[in-house]
Point group: C2
Chain length 471, copies 2
Amino acid sequence: MSEQHVRNRPASHVIDAAVRELTAKFGNQVVTSQAVRHQHGHNLSWTPNQSPDAVVYPQSTEEVAEIVRICLSHDVPVIPFGTGTSLEGHVNAPYGGVSVDVSQMKEILAVNVDDLDCVVQPGVTRKALNDYLRDTGLFFPIDPGADASIGGMTSTRASGTNAVRYGTMKDNVLSLTVVTPDGKIVKTARRARKSSAGYDLTRLFVGAEGTLGIITEITLRLYGIPEAISAATCQFPTLKAACDTVIETIQSGLGIARIEFVDEMSVRAMNNYSKLGLAEVPTLFLEFHGTEAGVEEQVKRFGEMAAERGGGPFTWATKPEDRNKMWQARHDMFWAMQTLKPRPDMSSFATDVCVPISRLADCVTETQKDAEQHGVISAILGHVGDGNFHSGPVFDPKDPADVAKAQAFAERLVDRALKMGGTCTGEHGVGQAKIKFMKVEHSPETLDLMRTIKRAIDPKNIMNPGKVLDA
Amino acid sequence: MSEQHVRNRPASHVIDAAVRELTAKFGNQVVTSQAVRHQHGHNLSWTPNQSPDAVVYPQSTEEVAEIVRICLSHDVPVIPFGTGTSLEGHVNAPYGGVSVDVSQMKEILAVNVDDLDCVVQPGVTRKALNDYLRDTGLFFPIDPGADASIGGMTSTRASGTNAVRYGTMKDNVLSLTVVTPDGKIVKTARRARKSSAGYDLTRLFVGAEGTLGIITEITLRLYGIPEAISAATCQFPTLKAACDTVIETIQSGLGIARIEFVDEMSVRAMNNYSKLGLAEVPTLFLEFHGTEAGVEEQVKRFGEMAAERGGGPFTWATKPEDRNKMWQARHDMFWAMQTLKPRPDMSSFATDVCVPISRLADCVTETQKDAEQHGVISAILGHVGDGNFHSGPVFDPKDPADVAKAQAFAERLVDRALKMGGTCTGEHGVGQAKIKFMKVEHSPETLDLMRTIKRAIDPKNIMNPGKVLDA
């Protein structure tokens, strides 16, 4: 099989020619101001800003195809951009090129209530979609912390707090329209709920981080809002008690909808930022979905399993506004973590790993010890039903030794997860920052197969180069 | 992009040389008897027998890799074989070559109870797996009619009666070990419940029908056996009443586990074969999973929704043996359909389509009318929660006009489903028999992308040639 083809930054006269052609075609949809380019070369990760040479705002699939064809003809990189909230360096432009910002493609094209699906453009955000769905009795469950775009969530194979019951983006995309690196428009599948008609092109693009094409339309599964929803926090004497309760809950087939772990330090951060007033001990955030009596019984059974391990009692969030406050606090953890900084000029970054759930307590405990030993401030929280957790080390960006210390902590975290049969990222993606771990996680044969696919679909390596796979 | 490369049947001296080399290496694991070759060139479809030149029974991933390397060096086709129960011509050898029968690779390599997963060899069947799991409190839900191999079920993206709650093979494979057409061994992913670490190679092989490699190990999700299970049949005055009840059930988020439709003629076939004694009217087979009170309430709510449309009452199968009898009758439908034959020398084949659920009643009604108009005997039944249904036209294999009539009926069924936004196969796969529909279902660009992937991974087209994509 094949080695990844090297990509170089195009010469400036090449870029100029491409931008001229784009401007002739798209007028003021093409922006080259320093501020806009800078904004598009940045994200919430600690990777340095790498600005594109131009930003284009397409309005339609056909316009995206035209942009890609122009860039291809000049051999200029194309970088898809949604809301820029990714965490591992997905939208930066290490080889320059054209950022294709889909934020103006934010139409909800269809909602098929009887079929429980909808068709959206990639710039629609998850909150905008759920606002739009409010009167239909349906909802879309995937909820990363940020109000990310559906296109970006598809590209990073995102998940969130509902994954234990509703799955990740991989499970909830029925079909995609994609502009491939040759400027063609490919519809990956029909709208039927399932199909065995050929290769799963849908899943090929979900999680490909824009390296195989630009997603321009997404057909999503929707779900009926359950008749009854109860949410609560439940506190535990130890992390292990919390994890063991989770394992038993899932084995029992209770069908819990959300089950989120926050460690002592995370609770402190949440108390700082969201005024929750919780005791600073290991805590689960829970949500039960079902019929009235079904939810009542789930709660009772969970309560028994928790009590056996010293957990409880529950603090209920019964009113919708209390429930929203509780989950908003969970979603705001990226910002809450900033309150753990000893000084305001310090920084932090978010990383994530995922391990088989039986190893979760071990992995979190060892990570907490590691932080203590090395003097790293880092809260831990996660989607405990999936074995997926996050850590956000705090560091001083002006002190190279401190930066290195935080990075080394994150690298040990990944090594630890991989040794336990886990993965270097459960939901954030590879971007630039985790490319180095791909070699540890996957065998040379596995990476070779990924490169073979990339080279076959994008022979000139114009599509988001420098992400997912190394050069 | 690329055209599919043509494949020819190798010259007999080439085949002989390959078989000699295989025999030198694998001794009596290589079989060339007429009877065994014939058995491996056949399946439950109406496609003609196309025997391989030899059958090899590997014992391990390494042996599969060695077989593939030998076949590749001679440019001889390789056809993976599980239990031979596929329905669209997946295991036939249209270009001759070597059938790789994995039935001796039937070890359950690991069951990780706390992680709710297991690792199996491809020859393990779904019933063997669930028998093995019985004492763990866990089960594997995917259940095509036949006791198929897990390898074959993975390769056809199979599903069955539990898909509405538990998904299909696509949703339940965590990782695969695959021997690629170059004889390398690729592990697609780690055992973690979810990952965003690179391209989704797992889903690339799920449903690829052995055209991209041979699956030699499968890591599967398992589920806790629910505390309470209730099963029932519920009869309706019309098909539309049944379908509308299903749509409302799913919208309401009730979390029903199985919801299967059988039409009047299917009930007659089931009564013939399994002595169910049901009235010959549109009928739903239902199963509710959850806690005791939760199931009770689901049943009550479903009963209300059914009654509003004239459905009911329920006939309960509360004892496990009654429940097993009821579902066995559903799984035996392929055989029950044979009882609809006016003469024992007549034949029938099974076909499947899947449409958005809002179109299901229309699609089934039009298909029933079509059968009546054209004098085709064909029962209809399906996984109504997914919009997926089956039809089994009866025909006289010795009468070319009757064969053509049955085939034309099946083709009109596919056309009808495609016009309604559906797919030419929800769970059986493409094999040989549905290749012609791929051009109708997918655009030239979409098929081109599939061919690009096939050519990149299998440049010599040795892996199950003549399936999924045309030459």
